[in-house]
């Protein structure tokens, strides 16, 4: 099985001192003898993809719940790719990439959500 994540930061460096508010940016590295994490990540993404596919093909839920369920499964897969395969937590110093990436996802959700919302008032706008 996968060995625990090890914080390999130099104990005297600034990232090791990052406590409190910045502790979530501390870099972490996965070390393992067999790529279990990748195998589990691949298995998980297959389960989520086929789960979404069959729940749509078999109409297991009412349409609005089905949409919510498959969007949740897609979000789960995105988290899986970022966490397992993209080594989101790894960096030389603090993992600063997390902050702009989170901002970009927030902006993306805002753009898409607001676009759908404003177009819901069809009679008023178009």
């Amino acid at each position: 099985m996968a060995e625990p994540l090890i914080n390999r930061a130099d104990p005297e460096s600034e990232e090791a001192e990052a406590e409190g508010a910045l502790a979530f940016l501390r870099p972490r590295f996965a070390e393992e003898r067999f790529p279990w994490i990748q195998v589990w990540g691949y298995g998980g993404s297959l389960v989520l993809t086929l789960g979404a596919y069959f729940s749509v093909v078999r109409h297991v839920l009412a349409p609005q719940f089905l949409v919510a369920a498959i969007l949740a499964m897609a979000a789960g897969q995105a988290a899986l790719q970022l966490g397992v395969f993209m080594h989101l937590r790894e960096s030389r110093g603090l993992s600063w990439q997390i902050v702009p990436l989170a901002l970009a996802f927030f902006t993306a959700l805002g753009m898409i959500g607001m676009s759908i919302w404003i177009m819901a008032f069809k009679s008023g706008v178009s």
């Binding site: 596919y53 949409v67 897969q77 970022l82 395969f85 702009p100």
Partner: protein, 207 residues
Amino acid sequence: MSLELAPEPGRREDLPLELSDEQESVKITGFWMFLVTDVLIFASLFSAYAVYRPRVATGPGPLELFHFGPALLETLLLLTSSFTVGIAIYEMRKGRPGGVMAWTIATLALGAAFVFLEIHEFASYAALGATWHQSAFLSAFYVLVGTHGAHVSFGILWAVTLLVQLARRGLTPVTARKLYTFSLYWHFLDVVWVFIFTVVYLMGKIA
């Protein structure tokens, strides 16, 4: 008497090869910033698709046009290629250039199969008259899915150049950093495709 060499400044041997050099590790952070901008590009295209999806004019809508078979196969190909490039990076961390080469070639083969299927899918829609000037829905569909396909095609060409560099120079902080950024790019495209599969293909079949 032994002569101890001072460690190269900016060099951290305790870190993986791609992060060991300060200059190269800054480029990885820079690549994350590029991915941030790419998130926003795809967000704009998804917004356009969400807005134009009902505007089918006289052309077909998602329900009539899409078939699950090719879309599911494309998804499985891309998911598997994301796994193989993940293993390539695992091999790179173990310092095995042969493994990196083999798994990256597998990734490229899967990516090429994906692009081939997508072109085939587009051509089959065009044969039905469903081209991108048919309706706002089709314009948004082709631009969204086509932008993703163009990213994958570019990624294949990029990785071929990286494999040549790997064969010539072996694993160095520079080639390792380049392969690492390629893996970030490829996994990111997989994330985008998961949302295309969900929003375009699966949701297109939910009445």
